[in-house]
């Protein structure tokens, strides 16, 4: 696989949220507004990058049978350090996201990348994978947060463009499921149309050849 492909696959083709449906707990919990989604995405990207680097470096000294406990120890330590640093140096961000930071530990996307990628690939590839996956995750959370904020509060990135309250359900938990479901449906619809078009073209070329 080329380096560019390792990086780009996480953004759209294997997007952790929209395609693989991984780590949905923080996805649904934090995306009540675009800025919260972005913050959570960046925090996750940071942890994912560090965990992929660490696990790629120690992969040879970890026997297979204890690999999962080792991954969890690494991820949990990184998250705790991140939480302490945020509390100390960005108290504002900690006030809004603090509740969700420990959730990063149980984000199965991070464990998934450790298990499926970083424990088998080189350091450079693992960094690219983490950046791509992390960016895809951030993008997904920001989009979902923006959609829910627009529909639920009539604003985007705290910029109010509509008076009144909007549809309350999108701010509450069910709105997370509704929003995510519709975004996935739209993405799948676009993908299917594309595939159908590609198939049609292939058939046309084949008939011309004959």
């Amino acid at each position: 696989m080329s380096k560019i492909k390792i990086f780009s696959k996480g953004i759209l083709k294997e997007n952790a949220v929209f395609v693989m449906l991984l780590g949905l707990c923080p996805v649904l919990g934090t995306t009540t507004s675009a800025i919260n989604g972005l913050g959570m995405g960046v925090a996750t990207l940071f942890v994912l990058l560090l965990s992929n680097i660490t696990i790629s470096l120690i992969k040879n000294i970890v026997p297979d049978m204890v690999r999962i406990p080792v991954f969890i120890v690494v991820i949990a330590s990184l998250v705790t350090v991140l939480q302490l640093l945020m509390q100390a140096y960005t108290p504002g961000l900690y006030a809004t996201l603090g509740l969700f930071i420990p959730l990063i530990v149980v984000n199965c996307m991070i464990l998934g990348r450790a298990e499926a990628f970083a424990s088998k690939n080189s350091l450079v590839d693992s960094i690219l994978d983490a950046l791509g996956m992390g960016l895809g995750f951030t993008l997904a959370l920001t989009i979902l947060g923006a959609v829910r904020e627009v529909l639920g509060s009539g604003s985007v990135f705290d910029f109010k463009f509509m008076d009144g309250d909007g549809m309350l359900v999108f701010v509450l938990a069910p709105g997370g499921f509704l929003g995510l479901g519709f975004i996935i449906a739209i993405l799948n619809w676009i993908k299917r149309n594309k595939e159908a078009k590609a198939k049609l073209q292939a058939v046309e070329i084949n008939t011309k050849k004959k």
Partner: protein, 195 residues
């Protein structure tokens, strides 16, 4: 370097060693951030005290913190003096367990006669878009408490026969906010005034 075999010794050494390094890292990070975290919390506290003091108060001195009994927990009080040393406002950090998502904490500033100067939310987990409107950064709801004396101003929502307009669709959060404010007021009037 070949991958280590999954023998018992290898597993023990690897897992133990990594756990040891991780705990050392955590201990170091805790030590290194202890000071800055305390400072950050102190700044948040001072900021909240400033928020519940009269806005025209230019120079102020913070008196010694003292505790008052208030329900299940004690309330921390921070007297604020003006430049001449006269007590202007007492900021009381109060709480409620009646919130929609458990306990939340607010700061209420009382003038010496018990009039509410201002309120500020310290920490909460109320529903975003509904209950969190009690926070001044989200909505102007809590402004209605300013300048009211709970002696004549009934600290319950209108639905319960009081004088407080509840947040639309967030009556529980509004009731809880009143509960916290009332707890601070009751404690303060029971001889909690320190000059």
């Amino acid at each position: 370097m070949a991958k280590l075999e999954s023998t018992l010794t290898n597993m023990l050494l690897s897992l133990g060693g990594i756990a040891l390094v991780a705990s050392a890292l955590l201990g170091f990070a805790y030590q290194a951030t202890k000071g800055p975290i305390a400072e950050a919390n102190q700044r948040i506290l001072e900021n909240a005290i400033k928020l519940v003091s009269p806005s025209d108060l230019k120079e102020s001195k913070l008196g010694d913190m003292y505790m008052l009994p208030g329900g299940k927990d004690s309330l921390a009080c921070y007297p604020v003096m003006d430049a001449s040393g006269k007590l202007v406002v007492t900021a009381i950090s109060t709480y409620t367990d009646e919130g929609f998502s458990g306990r939340f904490k607010i700061m209420v500033g009382f003038a010496p006669d018990g009039t509410i100067v201002n309120t500020a939310v310290l920490s909460h987990a109320e529903t975003p878009g509904l209950g969190d409107k009690m926070d001044k950064s989200k909505a102007d709801w809590s402004v209605q408490f300013n300048g009211k004396n709970p002696e004549t101003y009934k600290l319950t929502v209108t639905k319960d026969g009081g004088d407080v307009d509840a947040i639309t669709a967030a009556t529980i959060s509004s009731r809880a906010f009143c509960d916290a404010t009332d707890r601070a007021y009751t404690a303060y009037m029971k001889g909690g005034r320190h000059e």
